[in-house]
């Protein structure tokens, strides 16, 4: 984003106000550690941006997406979920990173058919194009990205077209990208958005998706350093969910970064996990809620934005 764009008046006023408030507090990404010259600090953001059609989102996502994108540009790695209708609005604001999108919807015959049937209706409405792909995207600072090394796969399972959060309108899946620091430390970063809903059937689908993700991490990143983040839709206090997420962590040897909501109104659904391994040693310098995405009594999404700042060093 440029000063010229601001001068031309192409940026929302709220975004300009946010820019002014935050310019002094922008983080310094990609810092080499003085104590460990081969270590790099990498900031990671995970954010479900609630980027649905405005009548479904019950607000005007087009209005808040530029602000989200501009704020997210301050992080080295950004994991977005639910960017369904507004990926390009986010991407326009992210200047120093390259984005990868998750899987689309056309591989699934049911979704492809639904898309064709819905087209005569959806074509009349801007930013309304269901059904969707995974709705996830990962942006990585150009200085860190290994450009051609990524994987995206759908889970192929869902529960509910009309009830149960309508999860079948999206082909949920995961996206893996690779980072490499200047010192050669490599980390695989996974982004995902799992099945929502509290019903037994939704919990079962969510479990199968988490098992598929664990299998994929074992297959694609065996023994390697990884960061796994996103909207897991796992409520620590929902029977079945806690056991599920503990199983996932134990199976893959993942630690919780500690990123979680700081403000009292959020439910805990989003996580940032990590482990060291072949390729890199990871440790957490700071983690929590990126509270700059909330202001003036309103949030920029219906989820908290989580961040973790990792120290990435070479493997021992």
């Amino acid at each position: 984003m440029t000063v010229e764009a601001a001068r031309r008046g192409t940026l929302p006023r709220a975004l300009l106000a946010t820019m002014a408030a935050l310019c002094a507090s922008a983080p310094l990404p990609l810092q080499a550690s003085a104590a460990e010259p081969d270590a790099t600090t990498v900031s990671v953001l995970s954010y479900n941006v609630h980027g649905l059609f405005r009548w479904i989102a019950k607000d005007d996502p087009r209005d808040r997406m530029p602000t989200i994108g501009w704020l997210a540009d301050r992080y080295d790695v950004v994991l977005f979920q639910e960017d369904f209708e507004f990926h390009s609005e986010l991407a326009q604001q992210i200047q120093h990173a390259t984005g990868r999108r998750g899987n689309g919807a056309w591989h699934d015959p049911r979704l492809a058919l639904a898309k064709l049937i819905a087209f005569p209706f959806t074509m009349w409405f801007p930013n309304f194009s269901p059904p969707y792909g995974a709705g996830i995207s990962t942006f990585v600072d150009d200085a860190l990205l290994v450009a051609d090394d990524f994987t995206r796969e759908p889970y192929g399972s869902c529960n509910g077209w009309l009830g149960a959060n309508g999860d079948c309108w999206a082909a949920k899946g995961f996206l893996r990208v690779t980072l490499r620091s200047a010192a050669g430390a490599e980390v695989h970063v996974y982004n995902t958005h799992l099945e929502a809903g509290p019903s037994d059937k939704s919990v079962a689908v969510r479990r199968s998706q988490l098992e598929a993700l664990a299998e994929a991490i074992e297959r694609l990143s065996a023994g390697r350093a990884v960061v796994v983040g996103g909207d897991f839709n796992v409520a620590f206090i929902r029977p079945g969910d806690r056991e599920m997420i503990l199983w996932f962590r134990e199976k893959l040897g993942l630690a919780d970064s500690g990123a979680g909501p700081e403000l009292p109104f959020w439910r805990e659904r989003d996580y940032l996990f990590y482990r060291s391994g072949a390729g890199a040693t990871l440790s957490v310098e700071a983690a929590g809620e990126a509270v700059e995405f909330v202001g003036r009594g309103r949030a920029l999404s219906d989820h908290p934005a989580l961040y973790a700042r990792f120290r990435v060093g070479p493997a021992p």
Binding site: F265, W266, G295
Partner: protein, 109 residues
């Protein structure tokens, strides 16, 4: 044809008017229920014997641990505290876990 066109036209007008309605304020309205109220509501639906433990400030950042369907109240309390301690470590919340409720009785000060 006119009988069909009239309701269709009405639907189109309603849809267009809804689309042109006053612009809402930027952002999503924050939840009216707090995270802890939500967790407490979920806990109340669990089967006894059950217990809920808390670390941190429930009006700001906190974690909970719980147990349900336990063979005794004492067992549930121990399990809830252990679960809370694990989550407290994850979230790096200072202070210890304390028992908040056993079954539906709030035991916290």
């Amino acid at each position: 044809m006119i009988r069909l066109a009239t309701p269709c036209g009405a639907v189109v007008i309603v849809v267009l008017l809804a689309g042109c309605s006053a612009k809402p304020p930027m952002g999503v309205a924050l939840r009216s229920r707090s995270q802890f109220e939500h967790e407490w509501g979920r806990y109340l639906k669990m089967a006894p014997s059950k217990a809920l433990a808390v670390a941190g400030d429930v009006t700001v950042t906190h974690v909970v641990g719980y147990a349900h369907d336990a063979p005794s109240d004492e067992f549930a309390a121990r399990e809830a505290l252990a679960a809370c301690e694990q989550r407290r470590g994850d979230r790096r919340i200072e202070g210890t876990c304390r028992l908040y409720a056993v079954n539906e009785e709030v035991v916290a000060d």
